[in-house]
Amino acid sequence: MTFRGLAALMTLTAIGMSLATSGCTKKSSNSQELLHVSYDVTREICTAVNEKFIKRYEAESGKKLTIKQSHGGSSSQARSVIDGLKADVVSLALWIDINAIAKSGLIEPGWENRLPNESIPYFSTVVFVVRKGNPKNIKDWPDLVREGVEVITPNPKSSGNGKLSFLAAWGSVTTRGGSDEEAMKYLTDLYRHVPVLESGGRGATTTFLNKRIGDVQLAWENEGYLAVKESKGEVEIVYPPVSIRAEPMVAVVTSNTKKKGTSETAEAYLKFYFEPEVQKLIAENYFRPSDPQVAEEFKDNFPSLTMFRVTDISKGWDDVQTRFFVEGALFDQISKLAAQR
């Protein structure tokens, strides 16, 4: 093992390098590849929908299709696309996140109206996930700030789940006759009960379920059902009387698809989400379907509760962003106050 060994090692890596690059650049006109950049809690549903869409697309066009997925906190995923992640389609938790991509020039303006139902294929809400038997007897938002209750929720700055939980908590005060000052006081109290702020919804679930930290998790409804299933009944869902209506949205990243020549496939893929067949699949994965007929069919799965929209507690998402989440806005003030104890 001397310089000959070293030379052999270098030759090996050179071969590795050339193989790697040839593997990456292999492309043919008879195949298409889509990159779907999404938020944290859609992994299972994307995998299921992709399988169905690929089958249909390949049968109809005779071309081969691969759909790659990337998942993370909604706002950080948006950030990656803005920084150059070559997404063909995005499905993100909040309008603001897709709008941020549109503002950077990658998505043509007016994208909300290019797909059915204002580009909202399904909606959801924020529920409470508690330990088996609900030992801390948590039923409504004020119960979260009782002595000795620990709340798990991700960071509103990086996560859609976090933002929605924040807004749900805010609205639980203001839509029931409370003032902004009372909401502020409630939220400061609430974040005092949060032991760790994860960056995404999935991280929060891992903290609550696997690391067994906290008494209640503020989770997407679908994530809550997954947690119940995964934990084999160690946790259960509690519906608060009032919560937020969460409306994830989808869009084609037009600037990227034009360069890659995937515009048509990308649009067909997103329209597929609105078809009854996929709407059923979505409902089976515990998201509330936007198709009224499918919604009727699955109505027993989704208990009714009062759901307010973002526009009921603000002038819209831009207003929400400047009032609550930009640097130095209400969330920053609240976390500073909460840290003071």
Binding site: M1, T2, F3, L6, L9, M10, L12, T13, A14, G16, M17, A20, T21, C24, L35, V37, D40, R43, K68, Q69, S70, H71, G72, S80, I82, D83, G84, L85, K86, S104, R202, G203, T205, T206, L209, N210, L226, E230
Partner: protein, 289 residues
């Protein structure tokens, strides 16, 4: 409390109980912090049975691809670092030039900077909105969210390993043998292959092993630049993190155990190397070609 300790010191020999207490504590720490978690990795990986383990770690195409990416990224990074480390050690050990001391301390910079900051730094340079972003896009070159970005980040993070091993060895050996070779008519390459390389080969190999181990495990910088595309830009550490977040614990630990096996292999290689070096120092002739 302080009384027995002081007496122990003044006697110049520690009492036996102290010795055994300290040894016991060290063993306890090793068992609790290293051995138990290590065994835990393998036991959780196998908790769903052998078939599931093979399925998750060795058949699943995304896991296989992650292994391939880890191999590609670490082998290219290590190769770059071999060239860089030798060039730097050579320059620093053989020549005096302005800024030499600064250069030596700059090599240590990657040890000090957090890998996440390294990732963000490259993002700000090569991202779409970054300093070189528009130029790269015009030329159709992808760095962030693709293999070159992962290699760049890993190379940066592992930069000091080989250079740091080589510099003291080359300084200690000194230029005498090399000068003798040149005086006797050897060409530059002959001197390099026949004199320099044999002298530094153990240090070089040692550096390569450490560098490989660190490159395979790199997570922070790579996670910023990866874009987390399954089956494309995911290395093994990223795959482990992802599977864990997908609530697939056996899967996460199956891939983690393969990664751990690779790490253990480098550790064994390192131990074997140390053994050989010791042996060759005892018998100087064994060092010959």
């Amino acid at each position: 409390m302080t009384e027995p300790a002081r007496r122990g010191f003044s006697r110049s020999r520690e009492p036996a109980w102290l010795k055994w207490l300290l040894i016991g504590i060290v063993y306890l720490i090793v068992v609790v912090l290293i051995i138990v978690p290590l065994l835990q990795v393998f036991s959780i990986a196998l908790s769903a049975g052998w078939n599931a383990f093979v399925q998750k770690a060795l058949v699943d195409p995304d896991s296989l691809h992650a292994m391939w990416m880890t191999f590609v990224v670490s082998s290219i990074s290590v190769t770059i670092n071999i060239f860089f480390g030798m060039a730097l050690a050579w320059a620093v050990a053989r020549f005096q030039f302005p800024g030499r001391t600064l250069l030596i301390s700059m090599v240590d910079l990657p040890f000090a900077i957090s890998p996440v900051a390294v990732g963000l730094m490259f993002m700000l340079l090569f991202g779409r909105q970054g300093f070189f972003g528009s130029t790269l896009e015009e030329w159709g070159i992808e760095i962030v969210f693709s293999t070159p970005g992962l290699i760049l980040a890993t190379t940066f993070v592992t930069l000091p390993f080989i250079a740091r091993e080589l510099i003291p060895v080359m300084e200690a050996i000194g230029p005498d043998e090399e000068l003798a070779a040149i005086t006797l008519g050897a060409s530059g390459w002959q001197m390099f292959w026949l004199v320099t390389i044999p002298n530094i080969r153990w240090a070089l190999l040692y550096g390569v092993i450490l560098c490989t181990a660190r490159a395979m495990g790199e997570f922070g910088a790579v996670s910023v630049l990866s874009g987390k595309i399954a089956g494309s830009t995911e290395t093994m550490p990223l795959r482990v993190d992802k599977l864990f977040h997908e609530h697939d614990e056996p899967g996460a630990f199956a891939v983690a155990s393969i990664l751990t096996l690779f790490a253990l292999m480098t550790l064994i290689a390192k131990a074997a190397l140390e053994h050989w070096v010791l042996a060759s120092i005892k018998k100087p002739d064994a060092n010959e070609l």
